[in-house]
Symmetry: C2
Subunit: 263 residues, 2 copies
DNA sequence: ACCGCCTGTTTGGTATCGTGGAATTGAATT
DNA sequence: AATTCAATTCCACGATACCAAACAGGCGGT
């Protein structure tokens, strides 16, 4: 069904990760189960086009610059990123908290843009852009406003790991959290992923009425959860609603279910 | 020499840009000069692996999330990015200016990381990560400390376009600028690329003694070029030198030429 | 509501192109 | 110098990717 050689080339690219950024031909051929000769041919092609680069000293391979450039193009032309740039800056300025935007993909959240109120923190993209859905405000904001069926599928497939004493690892407890989130309209992360770090998250909707992603503000627990919390939550909700409007969503035009079936 | 189908698949990915983020099968087949059937097969493979995504309404194609993730991995595991994260944050805090790091690639500079002192500006990566070498401090800082032969090749291949009245479009004038840059140790961009925006840039060296990239601070002309200018330049130079040390470069161990031939 | 027209998609037969194994180079270690 | 391991090149076979042409399906125009 898929073109073999192309498929294999992409498989090779997928081997690279934060943990394993450098690979040799032999390692790769073992990993994908192909002969070294075959792998070499694929790699040479990827190399020529700049999708891989070779360390002249070790002769091993890393991902190439081209991939970075294409990745930036992806992020820069993503609708939700374009629509949210202005409002997010505004929100960061108002709250003096770090703002992040993420979309749902394959059972976890992919951070697609970030705005810092100050320069103290390291660029977050350098950490790797995925966060778990069950222990982040940004993830729970999406889960709470998704189809029940999709949530069910998510729960079936997911292993819960505790990162802090506060991490919710119980299915029932998570579902209750989602009910509360639905009621209040925004989600909390009270040091569930990182000790000392708390977040508030709110969903963003798209034209169809389905959840497109989520927005969050985060910072030290004292700041975020202190007496200004309600103000932060309100500003966050307003910004998320504004972005949703830019995305073409008008609340009242029919809720999630109705908007799904066009007539 | 290269594997045909893989080469063609990568060519297809390369068609996408900031200007043209969405393409259909017919457009692609025209652009790469292949039959629609062939292109469809390649696209289907790229789609399955998440390197492309298809808009369900228009049936056209965009770059896929996978590419973004791999791009982030590239940036996150890049040596110069890892080594510079700490010093750059420090510099941003000290100067309250935006700091950027870029590497040289194919006659222009690729921004690989950015640190903001405040949240006012939009995430820069969303603009597209390339800047011209001849009209940026970050570019001239690299050009000035590169091999003459390489500069010569660059000049031969490059078309100069004026973006502001200050843009240097004359070959001789640029060479003089580079001489001055070499003497003072850092480069200026006095509104040469963007009206009202000025930058100071300094080179970063790697083990071999060759230039690995450059660091810059930028902001409104009045702030950057005002009476604090010399202080900014000093802080910038110190930070760039610190990063160079982390990269394994020790000045005095032999200059560019000598370090190239290991004994 | 019908009809072209321009999309994206599927199919099948053929020649091409990628494949895997073995041979080669080359560096690093003993 | 000898040994080992990795990256690279070579080549003949046969699977596989390619193209052309046919199919499907939505949109705009009349």
């Amino acid at each position: 069904m898929a073109i073999q050689s192309v498929d294999r080339a992409l498989q090779i690219l997928n081997l690279f990760s934060h943990r394993v950024p450098v690979l040799g031909v032999t390692e790769i051929s073992r990993a994908v189960g192909l002969s070294k000769g075959t792998v070499h041919g694929l790699i040479r092609t990827l190399l020529q086009q700049g999708f891989l680069q070779q360390d002249s000293a070790t002769r091993k391979y890393r991902l190439g610059l081209k991939i970075y450039e294409l990745g930036i193009i992806w992020a820069g032309t993503l609708e939700i990123n374009q629509k949210s740039a202005g409002p997010m800056n505004q929100l960061a300025k108002e709250t003096l908290l770090e703002c992040r935007l993420a979309i749902w993909d394959g059972d976890s959240m992919v951070i697609t843009s970030t705005v810092h109120p100050r320069a103290r923190a390291v660029l977050p993209h350098q950490f790797g852009p995925r966060v778990h859905a069950y222990c982040s405000a940004i993830g729970k904001a999406v889960l709470a406003f998704m189809d029940d069926a999709q949530v069910e599928r998510y729960l079936k497939r997911t292993q819960f790991t505790a990162f802090t004493p506060n991490t919710v690892t119980d299915r029932q407890q998570l579902l209750e959290d989602l009910v509360q989130t639905r009621q209040r309209g925004y989600a909390f992360d009270r040091e569930e992923a990182v000790q000392g770090l708390s977040c508030i998250g709110a969903p963003i909707y798209q034209r169809s009425g389905q959840v497109a992603g989520a927005l969050s503000v985060s910072g030290g627990t004292q700041r975020v959860m202190g007496d200004k919390m309600e103000g932060f939550a309100l500003a966050l909700m307003n910004t998320a609603a504004e972005i949703s409007r830019y995305m073409g969503y008008f609340p009242g035009y029919g809720d999630t279910a109705a908007a799904d079936r066009p007539r």
